[in-house]
Amino acid sequence: MIGTIAWRELRDLYSSASGWLALAAAQLLLAWMLFAQLEIYLKIQPRLTAIDSPLGIGDLVIAPTLASAALVLLLLVPLLGMGSLADELRSRRMTLLLSSPLSATSLVLGKWLGLLLACLPVVVLVMAMAVALGMGSHLDSGRLAAGALGLLLLIALASAVTLWFSSLGEQPLGAAALSWGLLFLLWFLDASGSEGLGLFSLKRHLEPFFLGMVPSESLVWFLTLTMAALALAIHRIWQLEGGD
């Protein structure tokens, strides 16, 4: 049943021009950022060689591009997922879903999986660009894999948060605005100056992945927040069914 919901979600997102346009815009933006980073790198490369710097293309091109990809995904995921449940509520299709032999958990997980899969092409294309770049230089595949994992965790979290906000009302744009608000608040928490708040910063937990590390505390942070947002969305559906 989760697969059925996920397939429908994916099919719905990419059956309209807006889904493809959003994906194309994200890809163009990321390609432009990659080439901009590459141009800077090519300009400073002779000086780096002269001072025997250990910094290479992975640090100066790939890591910043992945960080840019993270920001693009923070914008893209709420845009694609804002109507996921809000549209069902607005169009009264939720009645069909709730009257079918489908649990609230299956519904939310199916929607989440569909959104995750819809955003996956961005990660695949970013990685494809990085691998293409690596053909002309040496790239650490472990570092690339860690970067891909970081982006996947980010999509998982952003999708769960968007789903939760989308379950709260019938207005997709409201859900997108709330999702952007929360995700960017988490992103910029490390700029607050408070060490305590900084521990919860999305940016602080994501950056190590782009440097080739997979910190267990960051893994736990992403998984905990993702599961909490999914649990809230499931609870909301349960409330819609009349659960107290």
């Binding site: 059925t4 429908r8 099919r11 719905d12 059956s15 069909l96 709730l98 009257s99 032999p101 489908l102």
Partner: protein, 305 residues
């Protein structure tokens, strides 16, 4: 004779309270195979709440619902497989084709792969949708979208079909077509029909439940075997008619018209009328007239009126 196995949907003491608002209270109903049961009520009477409770989209705060003897709220997945629902607005995904919407509905009800595809093709043939499989649902006319909505509700061959205002917003030809369709499907299932349109009730329903302020205001049988209207050319006093054997009640409607409730078959009454030479001019086995339903709907006591 009605057998226990013919009962498809049964609600007892069904109620829903949201905070201080009692949306529905103590509703009992039984839907049998081959029956079209009407559910009437003005806006805010509790119709939507009733349908949500009966379809499992909302949990009751009191009472229970059984579909084919399966408790809907204890075993929702088992019970809901036997249920087909057409909400007031057909629940279609406009970006998906008719085929994709029907596939999705079949899979939602637990059908898989080839079974879902063959069910889709069967229902398309039945509802004359075969030529529209590749059409995007967002581009269908209202009547056609309603037809696809019904196909969605029936694709898994449910035993219990719940239709909410199925003819609302359709032109007269489309509405007639849809009524014919509902008449056709009734033989293999039970249909609960919520509507504002009295024509639907008149043509399709044997019984109606009328809700008012979240309570059952009336349970009317539309084909009353023992209620008749007669017109007498030389009418006696109402009291004389009341004293006739087999007559349980009389209402004088003026101009020689009477409405009679009978204990026995009408043959005995016909003999009495002939014997007294009251001139039986018209004899109408009485169908519960639709105006009296309107009276009950809006809360006007028929007798008082």
């Amino acid at each position: 004779m009605i057998q226990e196995r013919d009962i498809l949907l049964q609600a007892s003491g069904l109620g829903r309270r949201d905070g201080r608002t009692q949306r529905l209270e103590g509703l009992d109903l039984v839907l049998r195979r081959g029956q079209v049961l009407g559910l009437l009520g003005v806006n805010g009477a509790g119709k939507s709440t009733t349908l949500a409770l009966l379809s499992g989209a909302l949990r009751p705060t009191s009472g229970r619902v059984e579909i084919l003897g399966i408790d809907l709220h204890r075993h929702p997945r088992r019970a809901k497989r036997h249920l087909g629902l057409l909400p007031e607005r057909p629940p279609l995904y406009p970006n998906l084709t008719v085929d994709e919407n029907l596939d999705f509905a079949a899979r939602l009800r637990g059908m898989k792969g080839r079974a879902a595809r063959s069910a889709r093709e069967r229902i398309k043939r039945q509802l004359d949708l075969a030529a529209f499989g590749a059409r995007l649902c967002g581009r269908l006319s209202k009547g056609m979208a309603q037809r696809v909505g019904i196909a969605q509700a029936l694709v898994h061959e449910p035993q219990v079909v719940i239709l909410d205002e199925p003819t609302a917003g359709l032109d007269p030809a489309q509405a007639r077509e849809l009524r014919t369709l509902i008449g056709d499907i009734r033989s293999r299932c039970g249909v609960l029909l919520a509507t504002h349109i009295l024509r639907d009730v008149e043509e399709l329903c044997e019984e109606v439940l009328i809700l008012r302020d979240g309570r059952l205001a009336a349970h009317e049988r539309l084909h009353e075997r023992n209620r008749i209207r007669i017109h007498l050319l030389r009418p006696p006093e109402k009291e004389t008619l009341e004293r006739l054997p087999g007559v349980a009640g009389v209402r004088s409607q003026g101009g020689g018209w009477f409405e009679l409730a009978l204990d026995d078959a009408p043959a005995e009454l016909a003999r009495e009328i002939a014997l007294h030479d009251w001139g039986l001019d018209a004899y109408v086995p009485r169908r519960h007239d639709i105006e009296s339903l309107v009276g009950i709907l809006v809360g006007i006591d028929e007798e008082a009126a």
